[in-house]
């Protein structure tokens, strides 16, 4: 089994997701990145999109995020975002939802 690492998805209102994961996919302005354990230290901006987290129990969580930042440091992945919401649907639906949330705010 892949080596696990800590993931926290945090918004100003609440901690959206926190736990151990084996794989994270997120989208930065430069493109999509996948993160496994022992990833090099990274600071990245996020675009409004869907983030995918694979938990150690094999679960897959899709979270729509409205911009934000991603930090990887010593096997700790932190995603900071204005607004985030866990969705059941596909990644496309999650990204759409995040975009709607963003539109509501402005």
């Amino acid at each position: 089994m892949a080596k696990p690492f800590q993931v926290d998805v945090v918004s100003p209102e609440a901690t959206i997701w926190s736990g151990e994961a084996t794989f994270v996919v997120a989208r930065t302005p430069d493109g999509e990145i996948g993160i496994l354990a022992d990833h090099e230290p990274l600071l990245a901006a996020l675009v409004t999109s869907a983030v995918e987290v694979e938990g150690t129990d094999g679960s897959r969580t899709i979270i729509g995020v409205h911009g934000g930042f991603l930090q990887v440091l010593k096997n700790q992945v932190t995603l900071l975002t204005d607004r985030a919401q866990i969705t059941r649907g596909t990644k496309e639906q999650a990204a759409e939802l995040a975009a709607t949330l963003a539109a509501e705010d402005s």
Binding site: T28, D30, P41, L43, A44
Partner: protein, 277 residues
């Protein structure tokens, strides 16, 4: 009196029920701010430039003043305490020959400063009861926009810090220009990979940082407001209790006095009739 007491008691209970929720939101917002500060520190330690407009320290000619009050009254001295603190600072700044722009949060601050003829830049209403992140963003946009365009050279904020349900404190701090959080003990100079470039990340981070601080501030002020209202309404209810007690005694005494007078009049009248016969 009883009816008034019922109202004040209801308001007391409503306010009391909202304190834990407001307090929980304050707590829930802290991890985000803490992480954001951590990232900024790491960026600074990693050598990101500090040329952002929000970090620019100018000789202040015009100062923006953000005052967080309430929309509604019946919260004791909650609004007037923070407003008076802000006004004192405004008077001092003016004495130094500086211009003032006021950003009023809550009807109370708006009414106070408008009545006294201050120039109000922006007003934010319907925010203080349950502030959302969108409210913090609107306030942040207004303040940062005015700062970035050079219309104001510094921003000071006034709000009520929620220390506990029993204690809240009116405080002020300088929001802009941003005092870049210094690299603390825990931050070692990590060499990050950046996506995009560090300066670009900082560009995006700093506005979020200001918003997070404002959001935190609005939440604390809201918790303080509910606590102040609960306390004021409890005092009013207790006072109504005392009033009801004294008034009941006086009413009974007055009624008794009237009866006594009537009896003595009747007895006096009867005696006069008897002796006349």
């Amino acid at each position: 009196m009883l009816a008034t007491q019922k109202i004040t008691r209801a308001m007391e209970l409503i306010a009391a029920s909202r304190i834990p929720k407001a307090n929980a939101r304050v707590t829930a917002s802290k991890p985000y701010t803490a992480k954001l500060i951590e990232v900024i520190q790491n960026l600074g330690a990693g050598g990101a430039g500090s040329s952002h407009i929000l970090l620019e320290r100018r000789d202040p000619q015009t100062v923006g003043v953000v005052v967080v009050s309430s929309d509604r009254g019946l919260a004791g001295a909650y609004a007037s305490t923070i407003i008076r603190m802000a006004e004192q600072r405004i008077i001092d700044l003016r004495r130094e020959g500086k211009q003032i722009r006021i950003f009023a949060v809550g009807k109370k601050a708006q009414a106070y400063f408008r009545y006294r003829g201050y120039r109000i830049e922006r007003v934010f209403l319907g925010v203080t009861d349950t502030p959302g992140y969108g409210d913090a963003r609107a306030l942040g946009d207004a303040v940062m926009g005015t700062f970035a365009s050079g219309q104001i050279d510094a921003v000071e904020t006034f709000f009520t810090r929620f220390q506990s349900a029993a204690s809240q404190k009116a405080i002020s701090f300088e929001l802009l220009p941003i005092e870049q959080p210094a690299a603390g003990e825990g931050t070692s100079a990590v060499s990050y990979a950046y996506e995009p470039a560090p300066d670009e990340i900082l560009d995006r981070l700093l506005p979020r940082y200001v918003e997070a601080i404002l959001f935190n501030m609005l939440l604390e002020a809201s918790a303080s407001e509910h606590s102040a209202r609960r306390r004021a309404m409890k005092a009013a209810t207790d006072n109504a209790d005392d009033l009801i007690r004294t008034l009941t005694v006086s009413a009974n005494r007055a009624r008794q006095a009237e009866i006594t007078t009537e009896i003595s009049e009747i007895v006096g009248g009867a005696e006069a009739l008897a002796s006349a016969r």
